[in-house]
Amino acid sequence: MEPALANLEVFAATLLELAREDSDLLVVTSDSRGSAKLAPFAKAAPGQIVEVGIAEQNLVGIAAGLAAAGKNVFAVSPACFLTARSLEQIKNDVCYSDRPVSVIGISAGVSYGALGTTHHSLHDFAVLRAIHNITIVAPADNFETREAIKAVAKLPTPAYLRFGKKTMPHLSRLLPGFELGKASLVRLGKDITFIGCGEAVAPALAAADLLAADGIECRVISMHTIKPLDEAVVLQAAAETRAVITVEEHSVNGGLGEACASLLLQSGTHTRFKIVGFPDDHTVTGSQSEIFGHYGIDGPGLAVTARKLIAV
């Protein structure tokens, strides 16, 4: 197995491979090629990168226009700006106008750590889940990132992908392959299910290790596609294990957890259930891992949450 990298680096390398096969593939950046690790791409494929300056609305509007003219477009910018400042362009120019742009939110969640709330994206799942005609993906590791990039490049409809810049461990999968909308099972267990996405899957696995020492067997699922949700996997988890805990680098409002809660409640499923994410509060200062620890999105924190949930 290759040494683990940041998902961001895998994204940049995969995109260059795809660009070599598809001359219509274009990457559009808003002074973000450095932070997106796309400098090698710009050097290797200078005719396939379009720079628009620090102007995210322009970035997405131009991406939609390029797609309208038949280009396979990746619009790349930090997730915090891309899904807030240019939300109307994503909604109207991309989704409503049905342009198959791949909107790529880099350094997502709290990847920027102590740079603070201006640079955090804890709202993106919520706002995009409420917009029709966009697939939402948060890959957990290098494999999922690579496969997700390849999948959205072929997708005839809009997509949003987000990932961070921290090195992510390789996850072992119980079933091979990757498909958008089909969750990956990364650990088998009968007691508790953790459903995570993106960089919150690794902490769930760490919690599963801690709980295993107490004889509690956890199932861990990487729900890399938040929309459309793999409903069967969620319902199965609720039926086969005693509790379901969702984990995400996102506000507890409107993200993966609420998507699962809505599904379970409306299907008439009653289970012990907990959404772990960012509370509706000012975010504490710190590095990404310190912030995760503060809100219990790490092995020990999630293990405490799990024990409480099944003790009731």
Partner: protein, 276 residues
Amino acid sequence: MLSVPDLQRKSVEYRKDLLRLIKTAKAGHTGGDLSCLDILNVLYNRVLRVSPETFKSPDRDYYIQSKGHCAEALFVVLADRGFFPKSDLDTLNQYGSHYIGHPTRDVNGVEQNTGALGHGLAVGVGIALAGKIDRRDCRVFVLLGDGELAEGSNWEAAMTAAHYRLDNLVAIVDRNGLQITGSTEDVCQLAPLDQKFAAFGFEVRRCDGNDVIDLVRTLEEVPFRPGKPSLILAKTKKGKGVSFMENVAKWHHKVPSDDEYSRAMAELDTVEAALK
């Protein structure tokens, strides 16, 4: 391609079609529709290399209507050019119809869904840039309202258009000087728009946007300068063609009463008779 006298007759015919449509639908942006109708007439009957047969061709000219609220004017012209049957417009705004109060790609001939202001120019820049990358002969025309120029996204797109030397991009400002609240200059001063666009890297020409002769002359000259995007500051009158609607802000989206409708059609009949 219509001659100038035919274009002049067409402008009156379109105004009558437009008022009939707005009256039937009981909704529409009457004032702005009337101000931009001559521009649309000259574009679709003289300038744009696009037809129902070539609408999906990569070499066609593209038209993006950034001021999406004037959809009725666009629909009248597209129907006349054969993109869809005129009778389709009887369903405008009705339950289940895909003819709504803004342009959408569900309507044959519409290139881009618009309605939220400040979106069309960036999309046009993207299409024009793709044309340059592919060395295609297509041109992109974007119609902007003057009120919507307060949206900063226009100026982001303008900078990019100049940066990439998009001389296949033509932005036309329907400069009627009014927006829903009143004069554009009272709401948030736009002038001097020619100097602003020139400073952003456009080659600017002024013209009378309600005079088909001036519009033909100006639009047939694009690009005004190789290597630069073109900007046409088209001076128009909101409500143009109906005396009591001209330059009156309340006609922004007012539907004529039966009496107003009769008076307007009578005025247009008189103009039409004089052109025969």
